[in-house]
Amino acid sequence: MAEVYEVTVWTRGVSMDKEGRDVVSALAKAADREGKFVQAFDNYEDLPDRVGVPVRKYARISDEEIVMRYNYENENPDVVVIVDAALVKGVNVLRGMKRGGVLVVNTNRSPEETLKFIPNKDTLGAIACVDADGIAGRATVDFSGTEGGVDASGLGAGIAAPLAGAVAKATGVVNLESLAAVVANREALKRGYEEVVVKTI
């Protein structure tokens, strides 16, 4: 079976739900433009979401057709993205991560400072910190996408844009140009790409 690149996003129910979904949708759509086989979906078991609870969103990217498309989770993520930095305190966000994986956190703290809150940091190959809140300034909200509906409110107008840019810089899984073609706030995307602080471990 072909290797599937897995991105897991941890976000918070309802208030930050769309931002988490936008990160995986942007990465998947960008990779789709690059001719990859992709998948972006919500974690069904975390739903129906409640305000503030930890919920997961997934993207999968592969050079060949994805065999286990009908599955519930990314079991071994290559990248984990944290939309709200406080989530790392209560949740083992690196569960199942492959050795040498990348953690991307929305925070204005330094990688060194952030690493203090990650108990199993020896799994990581790199940590990337980006102040997505500071760059984009707002979180967009939409309720229609979560339950299998269509979120027609636009993609990447909020903090998801700099976060997706940070993922592209830290991992190279998609090009900045492909992301720019699918994300609404291109300026924030570009700033996320440029301002992210990556520390190799």
């Binding site: 079976m1 759509k29 789709d32 998948q39 972006a40 979906f41 919500d42 069904y44 078991e45 129906p48 057709e65 065999v67 286990m68 498309r69 009908y70 599955n71 519930y72 229609s144 339950e147 299998g148 509906g149 269509v150």
Partner: protein, 397 residues
């Protein structure tokens, strides 16, 4: 212009309903089918779809609204999942008995207990003998297509029967897949506007659903049974037209994959057929002559096609995604139909059933490999070890 979009099975169903120009929609929320109604409610609210959108106070009421609306001559759409499907059970026979071609989407969900959001076909399969057409989709694209095909068949004057249009909850209902949204003119060519036979009309009063005497019951049952005998022919015509107009390649009842020289096959309906195709490829690389037969309609059950198709193989593994506790085959459900259909076949393959994917469990490539091993072993021994295997729970010697 036709265009390709990446949408969930729920969104695909809602799109198909919009393209079908329905008149009346009745909703009641339950996971995972809910998004179909979310999407339709938006379409009606923003003027994209000119339909009456009614919110029922429960599934029984929801289906009762559809009963009335269809009697009044409307093209009607509704849907549900899991215990929502079973809560409306009483209404199914009156709707088919009155010959109202109501369409109901079912995005499967396991029945309680306790509470499980995962997909299992038992919700819909429990309703299979209520006089409705029934079949499953494997992908969001097939969801879209099946909704159109079912309206066309169900509303045919020779048929006039309601339709359960099913797809697996979560796997198909929630995970987006590529769907081609056609040009409206293609749908209009395939699916003419619904022309009711005897609609409720104050100017021409007619009775719908009156009380009858016991000696009038049998003839009504016979008429429903006779209508079902006409369905296969109408499905064939509809599929031919569908393939021509939309450039698809559907077989009416049985979709075969790599069966040309196969000795053993997986037999199943719904989402897991997608994974099964990859499993077939994987097992073929290991030298096993294996294929896949996917059932597209379980009602009407394609007896003759099953005889012709499955008698070509040495062993058939029926992958069950629903249960029949205490049944003749000790737990499997679909295998009853398969075995009954094969009884008069000149060459009968060995058949056994695999309980898999229940409660919404994932069926993995390893699971399919394990099943294939059991089938290969049965071929070698010339008989099946038992009627039912619980995949993942069998103790190996």
């Amino acid at each position: 212009m036709a265009k390709e979009v990446l949408i969930s099975g729920c969104a695909a169903a809602a799109q198909a309903v919009k393209y079908s120009r329905v008149d009346v929609i009745c909703s009641y929320p339950i996971r995972p089918y809910t998004a179909i109604m979310m999407e339709l409610a938006k379409m009606v609210a923003n003027g994209e779809l000119d339909a009456e959108f009614i919110h029922g106070e429960g599934e029984h009421a929801q289906l009762s609204v559809c009963y009335g609306a269809s009697a009044a001559g409307a093209r009607v759409f509704t849907g549900s999942s899991g215990v929502g499907v079973t809560y409306a059970f009483e209404t199914y026979s009156p709707i088919s008995g009155g010959r109202y071609p109501v369409q109901m989407a079912i995005a499967d969900r396991a029945l309680d207990p306790p509470g499980d959001f995962g997909s299992e076909h038992t919700d819909a399969m429990s309703c299979r003998d209520q006089g409705w057409l029934m079949g499953w989709a494997e992908t969001p694209q097939e969801v879209f297509d099946n909704h159109l095909i079912n309206y066309r068949v169900g509303e045919d004057r020779r048929i006039m029967l309601p339709q359960f249009v099913c797809h697996d909850g979560y796997f198909v209902s929630h995970i987006p897949g590529k769907v081609i949204l056609p040009d409206q003119s293609q749908v209009d060519e395939f699916l003419p506007l619904y022309k009711p036979l005897h609609p409720l009309d104050p100017k021409h009063p007619v009775s719908h659903g009156p009380q009858i005497r016991p000696d009038q019951g049998a003839i009504m049952d016979l008429q429903r049974a006779a209508a079902f005998l006409e369905v296969p022919k109408v499905i064939r015509e509809a599929i031919d037209d569908f393939n021509r107009i939309f450039g698809r390649d559907y077989r009416p009842f049985l979709d075969e994959y790599r069966t040309e020289d196969a000795e053993i096959v997986f037999f199943l309906q719904g989402a897991h057929a997608r994974t099964a195709r990859f499993a077939v490829n994987h097992l073929r690389e290991k030298g096993l002559k294996i294929g896949l037969v996917k059932l597209r309609f379980v009602r009407p059950f394609p007896t003759e096609e099953i005889q012709e198709c499955l008698s070509r193989f040495k062993a058939v593994g029926v992958i069950e995604t629903s249960t029949s506790y205490g049944g003749a085959m000790k737990g499997g459900n679909l295998i009853h139909e398969v075995r009954a259909a094969l009884y008069d076949a000149p060459e009968r393959p060995l058949t056994t059933s695999f309980m898999a994917g229940l409660g919404g469990d994932v069926i993995t490539i390893e699971d399919f490999s394990w099943m294939a091993e059991k089938l290969a072993k049965a071929v070698k021994a010339g008989k099946v070890e038992k009627y039912v295997y619980w995949v993942g729970f069998e103790l190996e010697e």
